[in-house]
């Protein structure tokens, strides 16, 4: 008998939040979708008041670029896109054991085939992109366990 459930979670890894949809089917659990939660920009710290003469455009939305934010050291298992581009090919499959530095997939960006390598040893838990898919910086590509 089919017993299929979909659960939605918000998972926090390295201080970043991700929407994760998990599907369970006959004792099997599969990750269906992982996407980055793009949180509201933090309000300006009180010690740096916005000058009264500031332009009508909301200067607070122009925050520092996300890649400059300091975060906890790696240890998370979501491999993100380092730059925007197109997935050219995927070199691993779900369940595969990978070593740190092993090729996971190739991301074509800036006219270059950028090799996305495993940041740590692990097992490929799910692959969140397909060839020809366009991705943005920080989009989740592969989930390692």
């Amino acid at each position: 008998m089919m017993d299929k459930n979909v659960f939605h979670y918000v998972v926090k890894v390295n201080g970043k939040e991700y929407n994760v949809d998990i599907e369970s089917e006959n004792d099997e659990i599969m990750v269906r979708n992982v996407s980055r939660v793009h949180s509201q920009p933090a309000p300006a710290p009180q010690s740096e008041p916005v000058p009264a003469t500031s332009s009508p455009t909301n200067s607070q939305t122009i925050s520092r670029p996300s890649e400059k934010k300091s975060e906890a050291p790696s240890g998370g298992n979501i491999v993100e896109a380092p730059l925007p581009g197109k997935i050219l090919r995927i070199n691993v499959s779900v369940g595969q054991q990978v070593k740190r530095g092993e090729l996971l997939l190739v991301l074509e960006a800036m006219k270059m085939e950028n090799e996305i390598l495993a940041p740590s040893d692990g097992v490929v838990d799910s692959i969140l992109v397909t060839p020809n898919q366009t991705v943005n910086t920080h989009d989740a590509l592969v989930l390692l366990k």
């Binding site: 670029p65 400059k68 906890a72 074509e108 800036m110 910086t137």
Partner: protein, 514 residues
């Protein structure tokens, strides 16, 4: 009174000083796998070369119970000695003495060796292991920090300044390392402006010392440091190695070492390392290793802004500083961090009379809101500034891509490069073919009944005409196009020539952190 009594008094005092915070505390440091302040100096310097200065210094604080507190050497061991026979000045904070805290006299001792280093034109190495300001000494402690920072800046670009962080380094203390030319950290060290407790109180964020300011954070994300070491010994070995690439001051050239490796050695392996297809990434460090003497290359900031590689090596015995785009990381783009990293490195080389060798393979500056909002214009400008400003020999090899503003920035002829070479695989152009064709032939493509066909043919036309080194060479922007196997010879000959150009040694500029 007899000599015996005089000497007994002296030896008793000296023994107390050498024991720092006492046997127990020293043992605790050793048990944690670290070296003590004095062991670090002895390990680092040539045997029996250390001459101590200020061993008998005492603090003169009286507030908050300090009148009863003894602090041998006031918590820092200072003096001079040699490394490989060359003079250096050292200060080593002693964590066993009041947590290595910085009081008035402690700071005065460090300032003293900073002054001496300037006077005798030799590198300063400061070994940090300190809980921070000595609160009991109040503003005198702050004055002490200020004195050190001031001398860091006045020495900048005059003598090499190297900081090694072995333990805690928090609050104002972080700014002395930050002002220096090279910062090393061990796995046991951490650095931050405010510690986890204050962070939690102010922002509610919970972090550990390591997460907030451990060596990996600074090496990979913040870019505050240049080298990470597993142990105290490894850190000091690395400092000795780094010193072998640096002159003692801006008034000297770096040390020439007779090479075992023939400058005329061919490097046909470059054809295997560098893919002929411009869209295939490779590790530029393999090219650097192949070209340098004995395959040796000491990478600086290897974990930060990895789309550009910086470091030192020797070519035919002469020290060179290398700046290279790394296509295997972010396609080798110049972004905010890699521009800052390369610009600071170029200025470090210029300050210390080190010729700059540039390997170019970059698609350009990184586009997007993240970069633009972060100020890529301002940060990218630093690289143009640094290359233009540098008077040392500047030799450039265009390996593959050299596009647009990034072509200009990466040691082009136009910013004063002495000699520019290109491999036959080089592409010197305003931009890559598809983008260029879409703009230049926009009307033709759109008005055609077969736009895709026209587009493809225009792209291939552009590729054929412009994506090569020949246009630039025809204008003398590239001096010569060389086969990969002759790269080492070409670069060596260029270096021998340009080392004779009129670039007098002496102070050129400070080395402001960028």
């Amino acid at each position: 009174m007899a000599w015996e009594d005089i000497l007994e008094e002296y030896r008793k005092r000296k023994e107390t000083i050498l024991l720092g915070g006492g046997k127990e505390k020293l043992q605790k440091i050793k048990d944690s796998g670290k070296l003590t302040a004095r062991e670090r100096i002895n390990y680092f310097l040539d045997e029996n070369s250390f001459v101590e200065i200020g061993a008998f210094v005492e603090h003169r604080a009286t507030a908050l119970g300090m009148e009863k507190t003894k602090a041998p050497s006031d918590g820092v061991v200072t003096g001079f000695g040699t490394v490989g026979g060359r003079l250096v000045f050292v200060a080593s904070q002693d964590f066993s003495v009041l947590g290595g805290s910085v009081g008035e006299m402690h700071a005065a001792k460090i300032a003293r060796i900073q002054d001496m280093a300037l006077q005798y034109k030799a590198p300063v190495i400061i070994m940090n292991d300190s809980g921070g300001a000595r609160i009991q000494e109040g503003v005198d402690s702050l004055k002490g920090y200020g004195d050190i920072f001031y001398r860091n800046v006045k020495s900048s670009g005059v003598v090499p300044q190297i900081s090694v962080v072995f333990g805690p380094c928090a609050g104002g203390a972080v700014y002395s390392p930050a002002l220096m030319d090279f910062v090393f950290m061990t796995k046991n060290a951490y650095m931050f402006i405010t510690g986890p407790k204050v962070v939690e109180t102010v922002t509610g964020e919970k972090v550990t010392n390591e997460q907030l300011g451990g060596p990996l954070v600074h090496a990979e994300k913040a870019g505050n440091i240049h080298f990470v070491a597993d142990s105290d010994e490894e850190a000091l070995d690395l400092v000795r190695e780094l010193l072998s690439y640096l002159p003692n001051s801006a008034f000297e050239k770096p040390l020439y070492m007779d090479p075992n490796d023939e400058p005329t050695r061919l490097v046909p392996e470059l054809e295997d390392i560098i893919p002929a297809e411009p869209n295939k990434a490779f590790d530029i460090r393999k090219v650097i290793n192949a070209v340098m003497d004995d395959g040796r290359f000491m990478e600086v900031q290897s974990d930060f802004a990895k789309s550009v590689v910086t470091g030192f090596g020797r070519l035919g015995g002469h020290v060179v500083g290398i700046v290279a785009n790394q296509s295997s990381f972010m396609a080798g783009v110049l972004d905010i961090d890699s521009s800052d990293k390369a610009a600071r490195f170029v200025r470090t080389c210029n300050a210390f009379n080190i010729p700059i060798l540039t390997f170019v393979d970059t698609p350009g500056y990184m586009p997007g809101t993240g970069q633009e909002y972060g100020g890529i214009i301002r940060h990218g400008a630093k690289l143009l500034y640094a290359y233009s400003e540098a008077e040392v020999p500047k030799i450039t090899l265009i390996v593959r891509k050299a596009f647009g503003g990034a072509y200009i920035a990466m040691g082009s002829k136009h910013l004063g490069a002495d000699l520019v070479f290109a491999l036959p695989s080089a592409q010197v152009a305003v931009m890559e073919a598809a983008g260029a064709a879409n703009i230049v032939f926009k009307k033709e493509i759109e008005s055609s009944p077969n736009p895709e066909e026209v587009r493809a043919s225009k792209i291939s036309e552009y590729n054929k005409e412009f994506m090569n080194p020949y246009v630039a060479a025809s204008r003398l922007y590239v001096d010569d196009i060389v086969e990969p196997q002759f790269v080492r010879i070409a670069l060596f000959n260029a270096l021998e020539l340009t080392l004779t150009k009129k670039n007098s040694v002496g102070v050129k500029h400070g080395n402001i952190p960028l």
